[in-house]
């Protein structure tokens, strides 16, 4: 917990994971090998999954990657601007958000397994969607906390 007192710890964690995801998303956008892994037959009778599959095929993941970079840059900038360490209340909130993100991730694995087994044709789409939903929620929540605390 002591390491979480320093705002730079949160900033580094957010930056490392966001840069990793952004790099992957930007590289795979429009990449022919990635496109080949996606479903092209639209076998699932679901407008949502078919639209998501088209979204991936059109190479739009790079925009999500860029949004991650912008949000992570904002977290890093606000964290570095802060001169004081987080107090025990702020650490407890941060710890709860990290634990929640970790717990959600634990439940995402069996959910991903279930979704992939129910329709293997959409396995890449499913995994990409879960990754985007999970990290987007965590990144936005973390940015909200950092903005809220930047003056305290």
């Amino acid at each position: 917990m002591r390491i979480m007192r320093k705002p730079v710890t949160n900033a580094v964690f957010i930056a490392v994971i966001s840069v990793f995801y952004a790099t992957v998303f930007i590289i795979i956008s429009g990449h022919i090998e990635f496109e080949r892994m996606l479903n092209h037959k639209q076998t699932l009778n679901s407008a949502f999954w078919n639209e998501w599959s088209v979204f991936l095929k059109e190479g739009n993941m790079k925009y999500i990657g860029l949004i991650y970079l912008i949000l992570a840059a904002a977290v890093v900038f606000l964290s570095l601007m802060r001169r004081k360490n987080y107090d025990e209340y702020q650490i407890s909130i941060l710890a709860k958000s990290f634990i929640t993100a970790g717990t959600v991730m634990v439940f995402l694995f069996p959910l991903a397994l279930l979704l992939v087994l129910s329709d293997p044709n959409y396995s890449i789409e499913t995994i990409m969607f879960l990754v985007v939903a999970h990290w987007s929620a965590f990144l936005i929540a973390d940015l909200f906390l950092v903005i809220r605390w930047c003056k305290s």
């Binding site: 025990e88 209340y89 305290s152």
Partner: protein, 61 residues
């Protein structure tokens, strides 16, 4: 106690070195302070921790 001392949450937070949100969360019962923060608050108000915090009415965690 804070209001009796004519302090705002911001002023008290600066006296004991925590954020205003921490003071607000303690006052509204959303956050249980550590023993050291409880000690700092009690010391500031010149009373014991037992006098400052209502242990009887609060839930044991």
């Amino acid at each position: 106690m804070r209001e009796k001392a004519l302090l705002t949450q911001k002023e008290l937070s600066e006296k004991v070195g925590v954020s205003r949100q921490a003071i607000n969360a303690i006052e509204t019962g959303k956050f249980a302070p550590s023993i050291w923060l409880a000690y700092d608050l009690a010391k500031y108000f010149e009373m014991s921790i037992e006098e400052l915090f209502d242990f009887e009415g609060s839930e044991r965690k």
